[in-house]
Amino acid sequence: MEFAESLRLSWRAIRSHKLRSILTTLGVVIGVAAVITFVTLGTSLRADVLGQVGADRTPNVYVWASPAGQEGGGPGAGAQPVFTASDVDAIRNLSGVESVVARGVVPTAAVSAGGQTVAQRQVIATSPSYFDSGGFAEGRAFREGSREVVLNEQAAGLFSPSVEVGDNVTLRLATGNSVEAEVVGLLNGSSGGGAFEGLGQSQPLVFVPTDPFYRTTLEVPGSGESQRVYPTLTVVAEDFAAVPETKASVQAYLENESDAAKLVPGNYEFSAETDQDLVDQIKELLNTLTNFVTGIAVISLVVGSIGIANIMLVSVTERTKEIGIMKAVGAQNRDVLQLFLLEAAMLGLFGSVLGTPVGVLGAYAAAQYIGLSLVLPYEWFAIAVAVGILVGILAGLYPAWNAAKTDPIDALRYE
């Protein structure tokens, strides 16, 4: 039997029960729409986050010590100040290392400027090379040993009028002392603060030079000498190719030779992560999330396919006599199978073809609501249509098989 003719006959069967076919299709529409909505949102979210994170990829290795087995929390989570100034120098001399930027936090209560005071939990103490990658809207990096600060635009914007380069600010330290400093640079709002300041976030940040602001010191074991200790380091590799090797040698140094190894609490371990590691982690997290939600949506698709199976079973029973007639005039089992499978496949196809735009619409509405720019996963539209047809065929398999093996005499006798 020609394919075109079965198509015509199946289409006619679908049309002869319009409402029923529409309701059956609706089950698949909802299933496919749900899947497409979540996949589209997942894709958009990924593109959004990775766009923020991955835009300015650097050959950096982020190093910190955290409780063993700690998962997530991002770079620097749970970090203890264990890296001594000698460690920093030693790492700087490892092969493949371009520079090392130590970073610590100075606990503060507030920042004042022009008579206004805003609360600020901490400022970040680091070296001028922290700003090597640029990102200044105005001004320059601070100089080591001078009372200078760099703010990001969010921090400058806390004051009205905004703090400008050349203004003086007062840092009220947690110890109760106040320190005056001059604003020498403003960072772009979008340039972020680096991996340790949280990815893609835009909180107000204040940067100060370690000297004279950072006072956290420890006695280096075995030397009797006190040194500044830092909770986090950013090791900049010479180039991207050197990143994995640098990461390995830094880790080896820390574990075997460093002061940090002696200072670190027993159940702590060193973490060294590259930008790529971070991106991979975020990707994995987003994938898990998207897969989970999509999995739930797939359940509604399964429900939709059960609807098709159900309606096809009814349809086969209802048309037992017609099946008998067709067989009596020479229809082979496979002709009957083909007819009913096609009918089920068409229901699945219509469901997915209608469900896809509905799903995109749903994703669009949700993206508008949470302020996400939509990225359409085109390949998923093709997948959805293919899955729709497949769902129809799978759901129709048993009913169609039943139809095909109907005995013509029994069927003709059927009332």
């Binding site: 069967a13 009596a328 005039v329 229809a331």
Partner: protein, 260 residues
């Protein structure tokens, strides 16, 4: 087939005057056919039937309800298989071929006409007539031509686009006959074709069969009504699953063929 010719000789004893007991040259030939249904107690719907239907003959089958007439027809029409015995259609033993092959025979070598018409309700008259050709993979344009030609033959040229529920009983039966003819089968089987029709309409259908017979078709028709049976050349009387007797009709009834 040649191999089974020798058995054919030994099984000739059928007791039917004109039946040579051989499938050779016959449209249909049954040899010791039995059909038994096992529902607790075995029911012998057919209990040893031997009969030969020559080509171009017009045969009626009569008998009380439940005597096995429909069973006989279904076996010949390859809708059913015998429990025992051989059924030959067009010199081919259809009781010994695969289901697939039997379906082919059903579509190409026999044409069935039912008491309840059995038209596809969602298809037009023309599509119903063309349906057997669809399953044989005949070209669409050829199918349409053939359907129109046949509808014209049965006097329904202007009803091709009508659905069965828009046609009268007689018209439906004529569509069913046109469908039975569409694959140019060797034999037309009709199970009480006038059973659901009034006398006048029944006469029209008989006129149609008469014409088909005159044109050289083989017709085997089951009926309850003596006057209908008398249109045939022979009447096979069935009783309790066996052939009771075969009656030759001296001068079969003729209908004035004036198809509307």
């Amino acid at each position: 087939m040649a191999a089974s010719d020798s058995d054919a000789e030994s099984d000739v004893e059928t007791g039917q005057g004109d039946a040579k007991g051989d499938h050779e040259g016959a449209a249909v030939s049954l040899r010791d056919v039995r059909k038994t249904y096992y529902l607790g107690e075995p029911v012998h719907a057919l209990d040893g039937v031997d009969v030969t239907i020559p080509r171009g003959s017009y045969t009626a089958v009569m008998g009380p309800s439940g005597s096995g007439k429909s069973t006989l027809l279904n076996l010949i029409g390859c809708l059913d298989t015998p429990t025992e015995g051989e059924v030959w259609v067009n010199e081919r033993e259809v009781s010994a071929i695969s289901q697939r092959e039997r379906t082919k025979v059903r579509g190409q070598e026999v044409g069935f006409v039912f008491q309840t018409f059995n038209l596809m309700p969602k298809l037009t008259a023309a599509e119903n007539v063309a349906l057997p050709l669809v399953f044989q993979g005949i070209d669409k344009s050829e199918r349409i031509d053939r359907a129109n030609e046949l509808l014209e033959d049965v006097g329904l040229a202007d009803r091709g686009d009508h659905r069965p529920n828009e046609l009268s009983g007689g018209q439906r039966q004529r569509v069913a006959i046109a469908r039975a003819l569409s694959a140019s089968p060797a034999i037309i089987l009709a199970d009480e074709p006038t059973g659901n029709l009034d006398q006048e309409t029944g006469k029209q259908i008989m006129g149609l069969f008469q014409r088909l017979h005159d044109e050289g078709n083989t017709i085997l028709m089951v009926t309850h009504e003596r006057p209908i049976a008398e249109h045939a050349q022979r009447v096979i009387h069935v009783l309790d699953g066996t052939i009771e007797r075969v009656e030759e009709i001296e001068s079969p009834r003729r209908v004035e063929t004036d198809l509307p």
